[in-house]
């Protein structure tokens, strides 16, 4: 099939030279040679100050008093700050959070005071001397408990909080947002269904565990300019939130500059603003001195965003022929003490909680419940990993109950192009059926495998996934492009190279249009004073959105190049084309002009004057077709999602019957990338995301005690995979059904690869042992116990 691309009238898919190739990462040498600089690696000289934070030991308490006298007197201390210094709110989608706690603390670890000292050690020592008296309150640690009518209120002022228009908080409750979807008539559909299955699934909290901890250095210089170097996915959003929160101190956007060098992993944990605001605020009190705040690994666990837990009550009705007729999904999210970002996770999940299926009758309730646990927030998958666990477990159970093959059941109901979505829009082109078939093939679905070991059993599982970028309807991307004397190119954008290969992919897109090889294109990490706007690097949207901005800049640069040639040589613009870094002409085969001859200096005319000059261009993209306006009671009427990316995952596992130990012998994952700009990097996302997803179901297990304190905030007790804990074999499969409005047909894949990892294991465990685990993680212990119970009953 030959696809022609909208901005790219000349390019046919079978003629692509840079797009679709396994280009070597343009940041590869930086990272392998040790040259790559992360925030913590930047030198700030002898004036650098260090901050330490005094944290609440209680999950819910009233602050009676704070005494900083001793701390202020301690050796090396420059300044001690408390909430009194910054009585300002901030928040991404809802302003429910103060920089430092004011009169209440709402989770263990919440920042109560900060100490600035000349060395890190002195800051930490002095922080211990701050005396805080608390009146301890009863914490609420469970979302269902928070939902109870007489539950204590965690945020009594909820009604006064400002928030985006698509949130619906309920005053005088702990419900910070309630996303409802009502479509068709579920009551009638359940009554008429041949089979209805209803059950509850439980998904706990998880930690991102980027290997680089959060770190920020902030400096207010003598001229009142605030610069913040930060390990962040969101330079422009951070600048905006800093400027907003610190506006009472006189800051405007022009006075705030955010610089984000390489970042050591994000996974959502470094999106928005979390600890960075502490550094930025504190730095305003020590003018002229850079101030560093770096989280310890412990703080990284309990005082950044965590992935929210969810209790999912799911009811699905089907007909005997396997047609799904109704879905009712109630999601009670444990959103934590502050939901300024996490409420949008709840919203996104609510919009899509049917999963990738065609469902005529829908009732979704996605409830954002305040609890006294750490703030929930974005984590790769953004709510979808969480609800897919129950949903895809449920689909297997229904298929079995009606005597249908789980793969066949999914093929029959999978959503395809044009089907109506839960909020009323229509599904974009997608390769779901191809993904299902390829995964089933890769794991030899239907072929039973026998283990040679009498103690172990083999099992297979399959699960589907979908996800749309969750973002404000006007989230934008922009790019600048400039040529250099030798015909090389510099591109500036403000998406973040989180590791996914964003910089390389942007270079490939520009290379395709301008025929300059990828190795001759430099794409830099952001500095908000110099790089053009990008909303944030989240939602798996930058290949698509920032890719479109780069594509437009490259097309504009090409038009300017042709214009110079036209002015000097008279060839019509539409007769010109680029090939191997030269301008050529369809009507004059001998004409050729290397880009390096003129992209800076221009071209001399016969009269000796010059035409042209530096070729510079810009591009921007905003999805102008979306809106977040919908009826609060039904969710109908808006167009909140730009498109969905879909796919399927399958595994072959071997399980020890006595110990419950699970080995993943083979895993296959197919994702519809629309067009893989760099297939090798897409495969990197498949393998990395799948392993991260498998870890949530097999190894990771966040524990809190009864007082709401996290009990295992370190890598010894919270296990993430080592080089040993990976599948024996991973089969990455790329499906390419083009996204009509994507750059060369591309859509995002970064988050999607972990979404179905948990249910696919639960399904394989059932296939092997006949036991159904309905709460994550699916630990060895749970499997062994369930199997023991089953074989003895």
């Amino acid at each position: 099939m030959t696809t022609t691309f909208p901005f790219e009238a000349d390019a046919k898919e079978d003629e692509l030279k840079a797009v679709g190739t396994d280009a070597v990462r343009i940041d590869g040498l930086d990272k392998i040679s040790g040259a790559a600089e992360f925030v913590d690696d930047i030198d700030f000289g002898p004036g650098l100050l260090h901050a330490a934070i005094v944290e609440s030991p209680h999950a819910f308490a009233r602050i009676v008093s704070i005494d900083t006298t001793e701390a202020a007197r301690a050796k090396g201390v420059v300044r001690v700050v408390t909430g009194k210094d910054f009585p300002y709110k901030f928040g991404m989608y809802m302003e429910d959070r103060y920089i430092f706690a004011q009169d209440h603390v709402r989770f263990v670890g919440e920042q109560v005071a900060g100490v600035i000292a000349r060395s890190h050690r002195e800051a930490v020592q002095a922080a211990k001397l701050v005396e805080v008296e608390y009146e301890v309150l009863n914490p609420i640690l469970d979302p269902k408990q928070a939902f109870e009518e007489d539950a204590d209120l965690i945020h009594p002022e909820l009604a006064d909080y400002t928030h985006v228009p698509w949130f619906f908080p309920k005053a005088d409750t702990n419900i910070a947002h309630w996303r409802k979807i009502r479509k068709g008539d579920t009551e009638k559909a359940f009554a008429e269904a041949d089979y209805v299955l209803e059950d509850t699934y439980f998904v706990p909290r998880y930690a991102h565990c980027a290997i680089e901890p959060h770190v920020t250095v902030s400096k207010l210089d003598q001229a009142d300019r605030l610069t913040v170097w930060t390990a962040s996915q969101s330079p422009h959003t951070q600048r905006h939130l800093f400027a907003q929160a610190l506006e009472p101190l006189g800051f405007t956007h022009k006075d705030v500059r955010v610089i984000t060098p390489y970042i050591g992993g994000g996974f959502g944990g470094k999106a928005g603003v979390s600890m960075e605001i502490l550094g930025a605020a504190m730095a305003t009190l020590v003018k002229g001195r850079p101030l560093k705040l770096r989280w310890t690994r412990e703080q990284e666990f309990y005082n950044t965003y965590q992935r929210q837990g969810v209790t999912a009550e799911l009811k699905v009705g089907v007909m005997d022929d396997g047609t799904i007729t109704a879905v009712e999904h109630k999601l009670y999210w444990d959103a934590g003490a502050y939901v300024e970002y996490g409420a949008n996770v709840v919203n996104a999940a609510g919009l899509s909680a049917t999963g990738p299926y065609r469902v005529p009758n829908i009732s979704n309730d996605s409830l954002c419940m305040y609890t006294n646990l750490p703030p929930g927030g974005p984590y790769r998958g953004f709510g979808y990993s969480e609800f897919h666990f129950g949903l895809e477990s449920h689909m297997d159970r229904i298929a079995e109950a009606i005597g249908m093959d789980p793969v066949e059941f999914r093929r029959k109901n999978a959503i395809v192009e044009g089907d109506e979505l839960s909020y009323g829009g229509h599904m974009n082109p997608s390769g779901m059926i191809e993904a299902i078939d390829k995964v089933a093939d890769a794991i030899e679905w239907g072929v039973e495998e026998q283990s040679d070991n009498p103690n172990t059993v083999m099992g297979k599982g399959i699960a589907l996934f979908w996800k749309a970028p969750a973002m404000p309807p006007n989230a934008s991307s922009a790019s600048f492009l400039k040529f250099n004397e030798d015909g090389s190119i510099n591109i500036t954008v403000s998406g973040m190279e989180l590791g996914q290969g964003y910089l390389t992919v942007m270079a490939q897109i520009a290379s395709e249009i301008l025929t300059v090889p990828v190795e001759k294109i430099r794409v830099e990490t952001p500095d908000t004073d110099r790089n053009p706007y990008e909303w944030q690097t989240v939602a798996s949207h930058v290949t698509w959105s920032s890719g479109l901005a780069v594509e437009k800049a490259a097309v504009e640069a090409r038009a300017k190049i042709f214009d110079v040639i036209h002015q000097v040589y008279g060839y019509e613009d539409d007769s010109l084309y680029l090939e191997n870094e030269k301008v050529k002409c369809k009507t004059d085969p001998v004409f050729e002009k290397p880009l390096s001859d003129f992209v800076i200096d221009g071209i001399q005319t016969d009269e000796g004057t010059w035409r042209g000059g530096p070729i510079i261009a810009s591009g921007k993209f905003m999805p102008e077709f979306t809106n977040a306006l919908s009826d609060p009671e039904t969710g109908q009427g808006g167009h909140p999602n730009v498109h969905y990316t879909v796919g399927a995952t399958g595994v072959v596992v071997e399980i020890d019957k006595d110990t419950g130990r699970i080995w993943v012998r083979k895993a296959a994952l197919a994702v519809d990338a629309g067009k893989a700009i760099n297939p090798d990097l897409v495969k990197g996302q498949i393998v990395g995301g799948l392993v991260q997803g498998l870890a949530t179901v097999l190894y990771e297990d966040m524990r809190f005690d009864e007082a709401g304190k996290m009990m295992n905030p370190n890598f010894t007790d919270y296990k993430i995979p080592t080089a040993f804990d990976i599948p024996d074999e991973v089969v990455p499969i790329i499906v390419e059904v083009p996204q009509p409005d994507g750059p060369f047909g591309a859509r995002g894949v970064g988050e999607h690869t972990m979404i179905a990892a948990a249910p696919v294991i639960a399904n394989a465990v059932y296939d092997a042992l006949g036991v159904r685990i309905k709460s994550m993680p699916v630990t060895q212990e749970k499997v062994a116990m369930a199997y023991l119970e089953k074989s003895t009953s």
Binding site: D43, I211, Y262, R297, E497, V687, I720, A723
Partner: protein, 155 residues
């Protein structure tokens, strides 16, 4: 107190306190930033360095314990261009964010010196102390195996 040590071939005399950790001294006093601070308790391996050719977690070593030792970091092995292993890591797109890379380059370099033709299991074992959250390890292991075969061919 005075501390003498060699870092990437260069002799240093430093003034350190008894409680100073080698990782911090390397980063802050020597200016060698490739060993990273990931957990400060020996769990993640991002602070890995080679001390007399053996990989150690520099967050678990007191600076004074390094007296007289020969320390190598990724900067040190990169002065004269990339090693064959490093080239393979680059061409294989083995890393994503790259935060774990300095530690893993060194652990794998040590492995290939001790065992020029490692098996997949050997590689997994050698890297088991270096956490990587991005890659799922697969492309890293592949590159080390490829480097191993390359070395195995040379007599």
């Amino acid at each position: 107190m005075n501390l003498e040590l060699k870092v990437n071939g260069e002799q240093w005399v430093l003034d350190v306190a008894a409680a100073d950790v080698l990782l911090d001294v390397l980063r802050e006093q020597v200016g060698t930033k490739s060993p990273k601070v990931g957990c400060e308790r020996g769990d993640c391996g991002s602070c890995t360095i080679l001390m007399d050719g053996r990989s150690v977690r520099s967050c678990l070593v007191l600076a004074v314990e390094a007296e007289g030792h020969d320390i190598v970091t990724v900067e040190g092995i990169s002065y004269e261009g990339m090693s064959q292993l490093q080239d393979l890591f680059i061409s294989n797109n083995s890393f994503q964010c790259g935060f774990c890379a300095p530690g893993i380059v060194l652990s794998a370099t040590e492995l290939l010196e001790l065992n020029p033709n490692p098996s997949r299991h050997d590689v997994q074992e050698a890297l088991a102390g270096n956490l990587c959250r991005c890659t799922g390890y697969e492309p890293i292991i592949d590159a080390v195996l490829a480097a191993g075969q390359g070395q195995g061919e040379t007599p």
